[in-house]
Symmetry: C2
Subunit: 447 residues, 2 copies
């Protein structure tokens, strides 16, 4: 039960949470700083005229929007939610020293996230109403686009708990799980300094990229003075399936990606491999029902890959480019047979990607991946600056991610065509309960 | 009559052009270099099994693909074609000195473009067939995605005709139109060196970004050894309408953009403002039926804009953020009244964007714009690296683009929030006739 495939019971009404109508506090309240709270007190609902979903959609436009995904639930939405087509991911640095301001931000983000995932503006006033001498509290570019399947998933990086000098920044260090450490520097990591780590993260997934971008932009705006964007990444094509209702898409190597993913329907596998359990870590009981997110920006050496013969591409991957079937035979979802002999050694080479990362060689560990293809223009060599923005949710990175990544770096034939340029790990708290803000259990555990 | 809204008369069959089955020549033929032409001689159609459109689309995925747009026609597709949702634009440097190799590339690109816009692989073999010891002639990531409304629009930059020293690079200088010069450096241009100019360009528009990316990638691959990508840009949200059948979308300032655009249905306006006429320029008769494309990457100072009061945003723009109506009143498509008095000067300020660029102040000049929003992650200041990738098709940049851009740079209130980081001008030849390659009239005029 993920609880995120049905609309919130509150329907179109703002939820009856204690903070639903509370103005943002302190550094969060630009409106307050700029001209008093009168505009902020306008009645909810005034945005409606400027925010209706455009019913006369253009030919070729995406299908009519589905029911919004509920923001609240047992787990955060955006993990087992059927992977939407578009991504905007952002990592933030917290720029304040104040725990109170950090909590106020999470309260404000929670409120805004509920609104945005319902397809409403980020704030109560909206983009086109309110006092003319104040900035709108929504930036407006998503007017008419509806919820578009938006999910917003929040995470806490290790540096939120302790900084590089081991300092307890916000009184959270006593609740820092042992596994929540900065990721090690793996071989083939060629990291861009900015694209490493982050105190907080938000994963915005939607069917329409403008909706995902709008959400990140408005959440960053709400956080101005408390957080600053450290790095962000757009993804345009999902490369994993998180539901058996989805067909497997292709990465920019041209191969199906995500065939062996943990899927929403596999309740037991989710409990074993994705959701943190209450007794996993004595310091991390607050994370029960949550997960860990490993984010890795993996640039592909596209032009080099494109010159490899088909047989080599398939040998490196261990699967057919056409059907996705393992080279040991069968169909896409046939389990690979690593012992089956081929014409020259095993049918699936020992350095084939599918073998190197297979659960059989990692104590059965599986991940729930929801990666996205990206192309960020061109590099200085006239090639595409492109690859896979890898996002994987795991119960414990020490058993479910780091060993697999290490094995890949050591012996995966694909690594010759990969260069990792971004890297971060976040703890993803469970879903917020009614009346709670995102991650409230962490702050209660350290109150 | 644009000729690009109906499928090619050739339907699913390869066109009966003289080059349809001719192998690519010289540096273009990796397959030839790598292992002989046997694989290339495989019968057309072998790709079909791996390339069928996936009929069981996921919930929330875009609607079923429409009929493909024909590649050939009186004009190139991708100009008056109803603006698709996604863009990948690439500018190329020609790296050969050989006119023959340049022509061979245009022949190969034409053939591949016909295939890609039909939803077929870039080459006859396709991504998953052919000899195992050769690279596939398609990279595969668009398998199952169909045509997705793909259009490919090719252009010739001024540097294809004469280089910076005035050298006639390929014997084309005698046919260089007077208006085809590198764009001047405008105030507020803060150009990235790589993102300026280009000998050739391809605009790929599609409903699915992976289809647009796939097209550029495979065309770049076909051109390896003859051209190199100079710069490229993805756009995720169209900001213009090119047909009265489309509703006006919003740019990242949150305003409707493209209200006053020349639209496909305005046949007379297209002839007056978009299509080059045979007697426009004695050196440019070959360009009749074509156009000029001004490409400008306009970064928006998003975070600064977002702090401006609604009334200021509207005053800078000259339109209502809600409806798009001019501040002189009416509805979105009401003509602005620049003489109407307001409470403090005219209702539409003299430096309002809508006034500064209005045809009334530019001898009636109008453009056909088909710009796209972009977000390329974050900048070093923690803001979004985002803005508008401006694409405008005009009959003559000297009358229809440069004066307007100059007026904007001098007196447009919006300029305080803009920074132009990329800039290029291209001549866009008319559509290729049956049996012709893209731009053949230019090469015949200079034979």
């Amino acid at each position: 039960m993920t609880g995120n495939t049905l609309p919130d019971a509150g329907g179109e009404q703002p939820p009856a949470s204690p903070h639903a109508t509370a103005p943002a506090r302190g550094a969060l309240s630009r409106r307050g700083l700029l001209g008093g709270g009168a505009a902020a007190a306008a009645a909810p609902g005034v945005f409606a005229a400027g925010w209706a979903v455009n019913e006369s959609r253009d030919a070729g436009a995406p299908a009519a929007p589905r029911e919004p995904y509920a923001f609240r639930g047992e787990h955060q939405a955006g993990i087992t939610t059927p992977a939407q087509d578009r991504l905007h991911f952002a990592a933030f640095d917290v720029t304040t020293d104040s725990r109170e301001e950090l909590v106020a931000l999470l309260v404000a983000w929670t409120e805004a996230a509920e609104r945005l995932t319902r397809g409403e503006p980020a704030g109560e006033i909206g983009p086109v109403q309110g006092a003319a001498n104040l900035p709108p509290d929504d930036t407006g570019e998503a007017i008419g686009l509806g919820a578009s399947g938006l999910t917003l998933t929040f995470g806490f990086g290790p540096t939120l708990f302790t900084d590089a000098d081991g300092k307890d920044r916000f009184g959270l260090a006593s609740a820092q799980p042992a596994a929540l450490r900065p990721l090690p520097h793996f071989p083939f990591d060629v990291l861009e300094e900015r694209a490493v780590g982050g105190d907080l993260c938000i994963q915005a997934c939607a069917d329409d990229p403008q909706v995902a971008v709008h959400a990140i932009r408005n959440l960053a705006r709400i956080g101005m003075g408390t957080v600053a964007v450290r790095w962000s990444q757009l993804g345009f094509g999902r490369t994993s399936t998180t539901s058996t209702s989805q067909s497997t898409p292709r990465n920019l190597f041209g191969f199906k990606d995500g065939t062996a993913n943990v899927k929403a329907e596999e309740t037991e596998a989710l409990a074993d491999h994705v959701w943190v359990q209450a007794d996993d870590d004595p310091k991390g009981a607050w994370l029960a029902g949550g997960s860990y997110l490993a984010a890795r920006r993996i640039n592909m050496l596209i032009e080099t890959w494109d010159r490899q013969p088909l047989a080599d591409q398939e040998a490196f991957t261990g699967r057919s480019k056409d059907t996705g079937a393992p080279l040991s035979g069968g169909q896409e979802f046939t389990e690979p047979d690593f012992d089956l002999p081929g014409s020259n050694g095993p049918a699936i080479a020992v350095d084939a990607h599918v073998r190197v990362v297979h659960p059989d060689f990692h104590d059965g560990a599986r991940m729930l991946r929801r990666g996205y293809n990206f192309v960020d223009g061109s590099n200085d060599l006239g090639g595409l600056n492109a690859g896979l923005f890898f996002l994987a949710y795991v119960r414990n990175p020490d058993t479910h991610f780091i060993p697999v990544q290490t094995a890949m770096a050591k012996s995966d034939a694909l690594m010759e065509y990969l260069k990792v340029t971004g890297s971060a790990l976040f703890a993803i708290p469970a879903g917020a309960k009614p009346g709670e803000h995102v991650g409230q259990a962490l702050f209660e555990a350290t109150a």
